[in-house]
Point group: D2
Chain length 325, copies 4
Amino acid sequence: MRFGAGIWLFGQFVDRYATDAYGPEVSTLEAIDAAGSVGDIEVLDINYPFTEGVSVADVRAALERHGISAWCITPHIYTREFRAGAFTNPEPAVRRRALELCEEAVDVAKQLGAPTVKLWPGQDGWDFPLQCDYREVWRLSLEGVKAVAAMDEAIRVAIEYKAKEPRVHISYANAARTLLGIAQMGREDIGIVVDLGHSLFAKETPADALHLVNDHGRLYTVEVNDNWREWDDDLPVASVHLVETIEFFLALRQIGWDQPILLDQFPFRENPVEAARASINTMRAIDAALDRLDLDALADAQQRQDPLASQRLVTDLLLGGARVG
Amino acid sequence: MRFGAGIWLFGQFVDRYATDAYGPEVSTLEAIDAAGSVGDIEVLDINYPFTEGVSVADVRAALERHGISAWCITPHIYTREFRAGAFTNPEPAVRRRALELCEEAVDVAKQLGAPTVKLWPGQDGWDFPLQCDYREVWRLSLEGVKAVAAMDEAIRVAIEYKAKEPRVHISYANAARTLLGIAQMGREDIGIVVDLGHSLFAKETPADALHLVNDHGRLYTVEVNDNWREWDDDLPVASVHLVETIEFFLALRQIGWDQPILLDQFPFRENPVEAARASINTMRAIDAALDRLDLDALADAQQRQDPLASQRLVTDLLLGGARVG
Amino acid sequence: MRFGAGIWLFGQFVDRYATDAYGPEVSTLEAIDAAGSVGDIEVLDINYPFTEGVSVADVRAALERHGISAWCITPHIYTREFRAGAFTNPEPAVRRRALELCEEAVDVAKQLGAPTVKLWPGQDGWDFPLQCDYREVWRLSLEGVKAVAAMDEAIRVAIEYKAKEPRVHISYANAARTLLGIAQMGREDIGIVVDLGHSLFAKETPADALHLVNDHGRLYTVEVNDNWREWDDDLPVASVHLVETIEFFLALRQIGWDQPILLDQFPFRENPVEAARASINTMRAIDAALDRLDLDALADAQQRQDPLASQRLVTDLLLGGARVG
Amino acid sequence: MRFGAGIWLFGQFVDRYATDAYGPEVSTLEAIDAAGSVGDIEVLDINYPFTEGVSVADVRAALERHGISAWCITPHIYTREFRAGAFTNPEPAVRRRALELCEEAVDVAKQLGAPTVKLWPGQDGWDFPLQCDYREVWRLSLEGVKAVAAMDEAIRVAIEYKAKEPRVHISYANAARTLLGIAQMGREDIGIVVDLGHSLFAKETPADALHLVNDHGRLYTVEVNDNWREWDDDLPVASVHLVETIEFFLALRQIGWDQPILLDQFPFRENPVEAARASINTMRAIDAALDRLDLDALADAQQRQDPLASQRLVTDLLLGGARVG
């Protein structure tokens, strides 16, 4: 298992109530230092623009200092300027500005050696019934991502889907919708971020979504965390859905995933370094547990679609214990 | 506007608590008579097998008596025999039996002049984490529908998606996933039932889902009802989500839908004929209201993605009233 | 740990799709035999009326044969007759009939030595906006339960709350609302069934709900199962929410619960005896695991409200594993 | 109908993505000016502390300039300092600081002539399973509110319940739980804010919750908005749930509510003054529509619990139209 993180895990959190933020400001460089102090982070997904005064050279130096690679560059296409949409903004000038920002992100990705620009168009969608022309919003969603993919042959684009927040309904809402959009775009260099928490939130079965995306050849990157399935709570891995998380990691084994697995957490009230370590420890422990799982017995139970048999394997693995009957 | 109904609206309802049923038994012929008595039902979606002792000739005669056409034949692939799945059942013999039943339904469709066999594989999916091999279940889901589509050149197949019930997770869960599966099947004679209630339940925006399916050329039939977005309650049209229902009917106008709109209701505690009339009356009233809606002003508001402007048009339409500011 | 079950676990299941039922008919006596064959069932919650032709003496004999006691008698106040409500039915005659049925249940409880009549008014509530006068429905809900409690000094009444199904909105929807109603009724012999699955479904934190009910002195009986939090799926214990189930059993220890814990499962597609054993095995394994949990460390973490610390205790317990950082 | 607003409607919005905020900074005085420009705002719910440099005298003068009264003072007990809880914070020193801030709010309420201090302990609760001792958190929740109520005889306290956000689970989660807590506190000067959106979000039936709170004598203030029932979206009134909003306003008539109705909106992407006017216009139109509603016919339908009859009254009111059958 190899690990990475979204750099925001180590940043400053704010929300609409704690408007004075959950902690002090953190520069991009300080966040890299924090990531480096975790001890197991190989790669980072880095937001662009960086915090004020930080250059690409500064970021490269900080990453090198910690032996960390840039995995994705994720442009901030969901800040004030883009509050009414980035790719789907009704104003052509704002859409152009979104593409310019993405182009800068592509350039930064090349400079930092990151293979991927991640797009998370969290302001692209709608809030109310009857607000927009859904066909036009979808067309703009596709057009925008396609334009970014066309910017540079060497940089691929990964779409991170999410059902909502900050927009009440986000265009790229779930895995199937995003795959459908990618097919419409007709390019080979556009893929998907499967984020375990976003999949839970989209009411998907995450292991099923992972296979679906992978079988379509579009699995570019994987993010992990947990939530209560009703919001993108970004809690540590397996803090709520342990059984489904185990199933997700089993699916990662099945597809032979050997790329890093990235943490996507918002530890509003916890120490970020400790919160990252908690998830990594849990993932290592899940990985070790999977080594002990009788995969033949599980395959046999699944071939019969026998839930009591597969559950018993999991329960034995996690709880041990004597048996009745 | 033209109307139809699923014949089950006029049948006997049962659930796991009122195991003595919510009313007396109703034969297929009695249900057709009830549908005929509504006064506005042009077409029916008819379950097959019929109730005991009823022949195709009997059904044809009953339909002719009321001037009703058969719109779909929907095979019962979700009864006891198929409780662990129809197309995805782990037992090959049960899968074969499901296909045989579908073949009979195709034959009945031809005999009754129905253009479509509707497939609702409500037992195909899973209940528990780790129960099955998701890739295999998806493969079987596609294989089964494809086999039915291949049965007869003249009969097309429409998939009705739903997130869950009776299976806890159903394979064909939402519009995008179903479109993706249809693309994988690679046939031109497989389409989708967009059911307004199933779309609400799938946390979709129904008007958006309708356009998406239509733009992919896969809109075969439309069903309507309402629910509380957390279950397939099958309530009368617009009883809960009036604004979104208006938006859905506007989308039907936009795509030029001139086929019947079918009621999919389960009036457990109401008179079915009255429950059907309630929905039809509501739909006629929505249709009349749409005639009064300023479509240019709406298009302008939507082009600007201005929710306050589009909401005001709807509020004025429904509530009238003086204005502040 | 002592175990019991709702007798329905061993009965025939039906729903609105598999109207030919998920399996053959099962008499009350056959269900008791099945419960006896599990090997660990001490008590049963028994529905009244029994299946046709079964007398109280027959039930007593069957229970004695298996060394099982009657724990609750639960009258069928949610069948066809009561489809529009039992205690809250708009027809006074139906409300009277509901009370008569409850009176028979009270009498059967006395004859069988059961201390409790359980009331689950699953048809009492509403389906649509504007359907009813909420104050009157609540008044009738209270009046009905209070009348049953007054029937016999020796028999107490336990209300089983649930958010919905079969009624779209059920009056006794969650723990707090039910406690509030009990306070309004002003009697000491009315309590609550905390059903782990109903609590998950009501979006409660089950361990919190258990303490709340217990601290109000109203915890009469406990039922267990699991679901996906969006419906009362009645799956085996801990099949989805292992961590929260462990927390719930820890809460049962904290309050010193030494009464039986009853299974409330609907194994639509599984062998009921095996499904019951699966849950019992899981509960025994959880119980053994709780013996290994460092309760002082957990109390310390909880006193500090430190989620990473308490999660680590649980993760270590379930997964073991080495540590980073 | 009389109207008011939460002052935050006119303030600066920020969230965890648009960390540069959805618009520029707004001082308390500018927000009062904006409220005054709406044209129909009689009262304000005002957050304390005010923005920097603003005194009580400044606020009083600004209110007087617009003929607006202070309705509630709402202390900011959910900012950084209180991120791990205000009344339930594990640190006694932080709990004391929360009470000090509330005491200042009580004092400001007296100075401004506001009858009520509103408490919204949005950080009081938990995020993870096993994080805390639920009994202790509940005890602290009650103790804190009770202490504030005891601060001044002339100022009463209103609790605003919400299911979650920012805390993943908030202690005062719904109407019934809050009423139960108030009963435990044993004081007469503690009541409830029924917020229409929070009630929808809590999966309550808002009109039912309103009656329940009012019948317990605890309805202190009413806030309105709309959402998609899965989050506290704070959209304009009736933008999603028109029928239930009409039902809610009918319930307000039934209880004879003659106090102001306060807007609780977050117009992230709209002009706040226009968003406020949109809601007020909708409410005036609903009010006018209610004048045309046949209340006797509705009462008759509700007495029979006949949903088709009551729906028809609403549909006729909103849509008019001819009738079938």
